[in-house]
Symmetry: C2
Subunit: 433 residues, 2 copies
């Protein structure tokens, strides 16, 4: 037998739910995890904003580091685990400094990577340091490794999914209980599923961060967060969810990246998906990722998108890879080989649409509305109009056959300007996966 | 820049659909695949039973090796790719010989691994050779890597799935068309979904091979094929499928491995799964694998279980891992650390049951049947009995509440001996995932 392998020593920055969950895994599992990694994995030092906060774990065995950036150069730290979050400093400074000195980094920080990922990948490549980020997308689902390592013999043409548990929880609850968005959001905050400031989640930005990383990995392109078309779920009403059900759909916030002759289209928006499709029955905080490849055909992953255990499980897997000496580039190919994204314009997107209008109850209003659609050559698939009390505003819902986004937007702008149409129409794209 | 990396040279044994698919990937993709692997991957030599067979690919660029075992020691071969199949020689001799000289092996051969996997793993460990087998289970689904590398921070307690596309195709078609087993089997053979000798597939043996590998990886135990309880789909009738639908179930051939206080239970048998559950809607040749871990909760994978492209995609991923210098042990931990399986007896399995009886149309037959069940303390959940012409045999279907397998078998043996019961009762286990 050769000499026993050296332990791998971690420096953990950020002790929120994921950091705490990671420490629980490492302390609770000790020997089994070491056997699977081929060597012991130990924690040397930890750092967080607030040392005194009660976390339910004993931090005494670990050196406390007041300045997280110091972990990058600490002699007793072999791997930096960045779990602070935030797209810029202190996370950025810490990760950059560690990679520059050739120290491997594991991070769950999608905001950081979607902004600085390519720069950091280049540094990692130069110094030979690993940069692993399984936990940055879809929590416990091993989608990053799947694309990085398992699907390398495929040309991937599309990747999409439910990437934000908060939004999916809110939409599921709205559908199940008929309650309004604001009310369910408050419940999600109480349950810890939504942040005090929910903008990143409900506005679709968190999904955009994750989608931009998936698209880069899947298509071999540079991360292009600015190229993502982003709409959140704030305008989805209980009425829309009820109509969707009546039409045989569920509403989900999707991130969809696809490649076509027009280029790469990355879009995040609420979408109606047909009841009975796999993605339609992903409820609550569960995430799902679906992808299409030329060899593999369709592949689907479902699992927990968040939560201390699931996310820490992915962080621990990244650490295990480093412990075993695994080597893969952050974005699969060398940074210089990543192509710039040729953005396909959202205006050119072709799809079906659901639109809800509020019309005055007056003769000829439907004729005026449908005339505009006909003029733009938007073909109507179905119309729902309910009986109503005379003189009241009436909701009209229609679904269209396929047309371009540009056509639909032009038609809606004209319709919203009609004197008989009250307020702004609400539209939701229909996806026929 | 350092010197350009050396190409990785393959010797491929077996040129069926998967071998041919692999050559198509390597020749069709060249540069992209090389970028992703960090070095070119080339084919030095190939070997198959029949050199002359038309395969639709040009074999002239590769050295033909009449004896596959010679690839193990060939100087121009860095990696042996074993795609011949079969649990013993020549596959066994080739793989063993290659590993013994420290040459990495990629194989899709579940039969070989479920019989000799532990011995081969030990050799691989001794010489430091990689032994990768992603394509051996669930075709294109990267389930081996997920368990080997992504879920190492979990105690997995259960893994189950639809692991044989042939059986799932047959059951799906029987359900959709109402045709009989034998007829659909013939169609599957014509379509190339079933072998000329379908015993391995429809008898559940192929699923057992795969399940034994998954259980070993998931639970850290030695592969125990002999411990798998195996039943095939030969006795599932169109009548059973129709009744299942009426009761809100689908019938699937499942492989299920679980750990409890009683030990490890590995079972392969037709099962009724509730309509609306993820596994119930896996149709055709698609495979699915579901697993439960203490950190991750539930994780599900769905994708193509077979086919040249999907399976070759997994083989190519294993090759890419070796090209990048990735290192992981065949069964995650060293062979000496793999525990022997403590077999939980099938008799102790607790579940619900569907049973179909053929009874004589005579007064008191139901009373006699239900008396036996009551005597064995098997509680009935539902009964379906159709009206029939007087004097004819009548089908009675019932579902039970939970009881042990031993209880159910004892009750059925007694019922089958009643003079008013015609033939053997047909039972199918109900799974409530």
């Amino acid at each position: 037998m050769s000499a026993p392998p050296q332990p791998l020593r971690l420096g953990i920055a950020g002790l929120g739910t994921v950091g705490t969950g990671l420490i629980q895994i490492l302390t609770g599992y000790g020997e089994v995890f070491a056997e699977r990694c081929g060597r012991p994995v130990v924690i040397s030092a930890v750092s967080a904003r607030n040392k005194a906060r009660e976390r339910g774990i004993d931090l005494k065995p670990y050196r406390w580091e007041a300045d997280p950036a110091a972990l990058a150069t600490a002699k007793d730290v072999d791997v930096v685990v960045e779990l602070m979050g935030g797209e810029d400093d202190p996370a950025y400074a810490l990760v950059k400094r560690a990679l520059k000195v050739g120290k491997p980094v594991v991070t769950a920080n999608k905001a950081l990577l979607s902004k600085h990922g390519i720069e950091l990948a280049k540094i990692a490549e130069t110094t030979g340091a690993q940069l692993n980020f399984e936990a940055a997308v879809a929590g416990g689902i091993p989608i990053i490794k799947a694309i990085r390592e398992s699907l390398v013999a495929n040309r991937l043409t599309r990747i999409y999914g439910i990437l934000n548990g908060t939004c999916n929880f809110i939409l599921t609850e709205m559908g199940a209980t008929g309650r309004a968005f604001e009310e369910v959001l408050k419940e999600a905050q109480v349950l810890g599923y939504a942040e005090a400031d929910p903008t990143f989640d409900v506005g679709g930005i968190d999904t955009a961060h994750k989608l931009s990383l998936l698209a880069s990995l899947a298509f071999g392109t540079r991360v292009d967060l600015a190229g993502v078309h982003v709409e959140g779920i704030e305008h989805v009403t209980g009425e829309d969810i009820a109509y969707a059900g009546e039409l045989g759909y569920r509403i989900k916030l999707l991130g969809i990246a696809s490649q076509s002759d027009q280029g790469t289209l990355q879009r995040v928006h609420p979408a109606m998906v047909r009841v009975g499709t796999p993605i339609a029955r992903i409820d609550g905080v569960t995430n799902a990722v679906m992808l299409d490849g030329d060899r593999i055909g369709e592949l689907a992953f479902e699992g927990p998108g968040a939560g201390a255990g699931a996310t820490a499980s992915s962080v621990a897997a990244d650490i295990a890879d480093i412990a075993r000496g695994g080597r893969s580039l952050p974005f699969i190919v060398p940074e210089a080989k990543l192509k710039p994204v040729q953005r396909a314009p959202m205006a050119g997107h072709i799809g079906m649409y659901y639109v809800r209008f509020r019309l005055m109850d007056r003769a000829g209003v439907m004729a005026a509305l449908t005339a505009v659609l006909a003029h733009h050559e938007v073909s109507i698939e179905s119309i729902i109009q309910r009986g109503r009390a005379p003189g009241e505003a009436v909701s009209v819902v229609l679904t269209t056959h396929e047309c371009t986004e540009a056509t639909m937007q032009a038609a809606l702008a004209e319709i919203d300007g009609l004197p008989t149409v009250m307020g702004k129409s609400n539209f939701i794209r229909i996806e026929t996966f």
